[in-house]
Symmetry: D2
Subunit: 329 residues, 4 copies
């Protein structure tokens, strides 16, 4: 049994708490959150204790630290956790500042740090990647990643989110890197504010089409929208020399209704809590395997940096309306 | 060019007129219908002449006769056409009376007579049969045929239709024979009147589940309903030792709408005029090939008799609530 | 926390053990199995103790008993559990003998007994039932239940299974009762042995088409096969006055491959352990709700009897080739 | 009856010949092609006469001219046809040179000239556009057009084709204009040669992702590939404020095969002759309606120019790796 301290008792913290509790080999010991009430409540539900961070880091029986707190403290907590010798699982992004993240390279570059890019653990995307790696469609040529949220977040969140590219598309940049088989070298973005003028007022965009280009000319198009009108749209299409692979959206059930207007499916799973429930479970099992020494982090610090670089380049491109070379960052 | 005389200027007659006109090698010369106005109108549209039946049968330049008239004259017209030496294409059923149909065996048994079981020419069902014959699912074990009309016909029609089994299910009995690979030996039906009590008053049923059983124990379930609520439901599922084949309904277009309620397809093609438009065209091309001597009728008199026997057995079973042996008829 | 004793450490026992362990409010205390090694192993994995049945029944702290043992001891254990005042969750069937099951009516008829018809808890079938109950397709007229296993069980199992109808189709009889909205009054079966002659030698069939008929003429067709060639085929189609509802099979992932041969899906989930994993979890949560007094068993003794009656009638019909009235049993 | 002269007896000419022949109201009188053998053969099949262009243009009884000849003579023949007072249907593109096309504005700008952008007549894309216009998804925000050919054309053709953008993507530029509801103002392309180095040697690309941007920030992504590995990939996705519309590929039949590897569809329709067969028929019926004075060309000279401008801009962007303003051309 590995004792775990969880930082963050919010939405994502609760998911990790539940999964840590039901993952064999893990024992959720501590919950840490500046909101002591929230920490206490979640601790109560999970049979853990709500403590302060010093207690958690200082307890030598704690083997693993999960960081699911607010973005702006991710990096500090990750540095503390690693410094305290804990195996660490940190939600993305490490930080909104590429400079600060790069400055932590010496401490974090070789640490046992799992970056929470949950989509790498999604069974549908994993099934696609397995087939891609097995050569089912031959040499990969282009990739389409669709990532549309059901509805925009509150404007207060938009303001501190780091913007669409660092907050939302960063997952897609990681997916692109994971699947493309070579690093993107250039980023071009055409972005608009079509959904809510308040998002433009906040200095952000809500709709974007991004093209990533690799050294050998592979092309990846990422489609981002803060609002879909139909649920959480999370799809990947890979095009190769011998065919195409596509991972489609997940429906609430297989039920279809046939009526005068044709055949209607059940609704799409609404948002990431549902859509990626199994991904979060698999991610936690991977963290347990790291703790047992049976695996090393499949996605770590360097991946966090690389995705952030692409997000930074995307923002630059959107503002300048020019392709941006990744090497220039 | 083969001159054609068409009997019947109603709904099915118009389809055959249009297809005969556009099928290379056929020249629609005559339209015959007791309703002279309808005959004249259709003839005008097709560049044909509206004539009486003696003219049509007596014209030695007429090579082919298409019988798309009312059911109760099918058999007489088929006998006359064959007697006049015409290659004949007769809509199903030959007659509602099994006795009368059997009595025509000497004249029709070896005549060049194409029975209008249009579904044998449907590209989807043909694609299914090709795979079945190619052994894609191994030895066939069971078969499901779904045949639901969009809405019941007028009650006046129901009264003279010969009943659900001879009027509607007869197509499905032919499909079953075509696909099962061996003749059904026993028929059991459980039928209800659930849609409209007037249908029961007319001595008919509107909903039926039929099980056909072959000598080797292959089983076929036919589902019939006079009303679907969603369009014309025409599907076939074949189950074999190595898998399953299914031909699905045809939609008006490939367009899907994604919205808050999930994904909705376009409507199902509404009824047989649309659903089997291509089947009717292929059927006519087959008739042209028969006229050219390049093919013999792929479905003929014996198939008409056999389907009628199954319809008769189905009616008996529905009334007696017992399995009926085909040999007993 | 409710202490639970689980009888049976085999395949289904392990599922219930895992689900009991992860269901909030339940504490798996005991595992009972004549195979002490298996009991010990499973107990070790779950933090439970392997004990004999007297210990389990005699421990007043045990609130709930789960019976996942071999079929022939279900009824005895259920009687003991109920006699000991335990809230009981018993796998189907209660017994293979309708006579014995009926004889237990006095003891079990009003007991807090949850019958393990897991499919009632499947999210797909529940979604279908919700829409049916909400009137989405109007008045229900007919129902198709498809239930094909991926591959036949070992012949040793077939011999003691009670036969296809009591062993396999009993689930479908329960589904039919759950969905039809009125009790079936008559059963007709046409069954064959098409897959393996050894099954016929064991006195059983491997392929069957069953028609259930209710008082008002609603018709239900159940298709059973011991082998599909493509995975576990578990589908329901409901036809009503205004349309149709269908719950389809579940795929391993949403990934499709497009190649020269068209579009290929991922594989179907292979068997009930995968296909009904979520159903088993929901069933266990329902059992927990019963223990908390928040729910009464949604499926109980009377449902177990009724499904067994239909299975008995089906067997009789298959042997006699006649429709069998349910009331005659 | 309107007499028609058809220029071009090649692949596209044969399609138009067949459709002109079977479209009510049209009479194919002449076939003109420098390859007199091909012209004669096609004329023979259609009951037309093979003549030279002077005869065709000079015959006052010819009301309509269809130009399906080689691209480099489109413009000259269109000018001659219009000068001769013929209602003209010209295959795309009018010419590969934007300069030459623009120079013909005075003669062609107001002429009864139907441009052969066949996809506007595809029933699937029309169904999508109807819903878009009906507001089914609210305000349109982004558009994805996928246009992948099954396999690259011969390299000899590539050399004279005008390049991927003028030869292939020009259809997609027209689709984008048709659907976007406002003109694209800026074009960015990232293009590669991934399929065949000989295409690069010919100065062309084989894989491209294009972003079109309208004045109000609507974004359209076009994906082009000279080779799919799975057939002709022709899809459109429209994203709006209230949902999404998508027109999918067309399969050869509705047949699916279920086996150990899941569910497999029939093949995709292979290429434009099959995929757009119905579009070509509808296009010809529209041409007949123009001749009867019942319609004016739904797509004409100005559309031809506008699509060519976008193709020109796309080529410039691909070479310069910069967004190109449409107004600069």
């Amino acid at each position: 049994m590995f004792n775990i301290a969880l930082f963050g008792a919010g939405r994502i913290g609760r998911i990790h708490a539940r999964n840590a509790t039901s993952t064999p080999g893990l024992k959720l010991k501590y919950i840490v959150d500046p909101d002591r009430q929230a920490a206490g409540r979640l601790a109560g539900e999970c049979g853990a204790a709500a403590v302060d961070s010093d207690t958690a880091f200082g307890d030598a029986s704690v083997a693993g630290v999960i960081i699911g707190s607010a973005t702006h403290v991710h990096l500090d907590q990750a540095l503390q956790a690693v410094a305290a010798g804990k195996t660490t699982f940190c939600e993305k992004p490490l930080d909104l500042s590429l400079e600060r993240v790069r400055a932590a390279a010496a401490q974090l570059g070789n640490a046992p740090l799992l970056m929470g890019f949950n989509r790498r653990f999604d069974p549908h995307f994993q099934a696609l990647k397995e087939r891609l790696d097995a050569g089912v469609i031959g040499n990969l040529e282009t990739l389409n990643i669709t990532s549309h949220d059901p509805a925009p977040p509150p404007i207060e969140y938009v303001r501190v989110s780091g913007g669409l590219f660092k907050d939302m598309a960063i997952h897609d940049f990681d997916m692109a890197r994971w699947l493309l088989g070579e690093e993107p070298e250039e980023v071009y973005v055409s972005a608009s504010c079509l959904i809510d003028p308040a998002i433009a007022d906040a200095g952000d965009v809500d709709t974007a089409k991004t093209i990533l280009r690799t050294r050998n000319g592979r092309l990846c198009v990422i489609s981002n929208s803060r609002r879909s009108g139909y649920g959480y749209d999370q799809r990947i299409e890979a095009y190769g020399a011998a065919g195409s692979l596509r991972a489609d959206n997940v429906l609430e059930s297989t039920v279809h209704t046939w009526g005068p207007h044709g055949s209607a499916s059940d609704t799409f799973q609404n948002f990431f809590l549902d859509r990626y429930a199994e991904a979060y479970r698999r991610e936690m099992r991977h963290f347990a395997a790291i703790l047992r020494g049976e695996a090393s982090p499949s996605v770590g610090y360097r991946d966090g940096v690389a995705a952030l670089v692409l997000a930074e380049a995307a923002g630059l491109s959107a503002r300048s309306n020019k392709p941006v070379s990744v090497r220039s960052l």
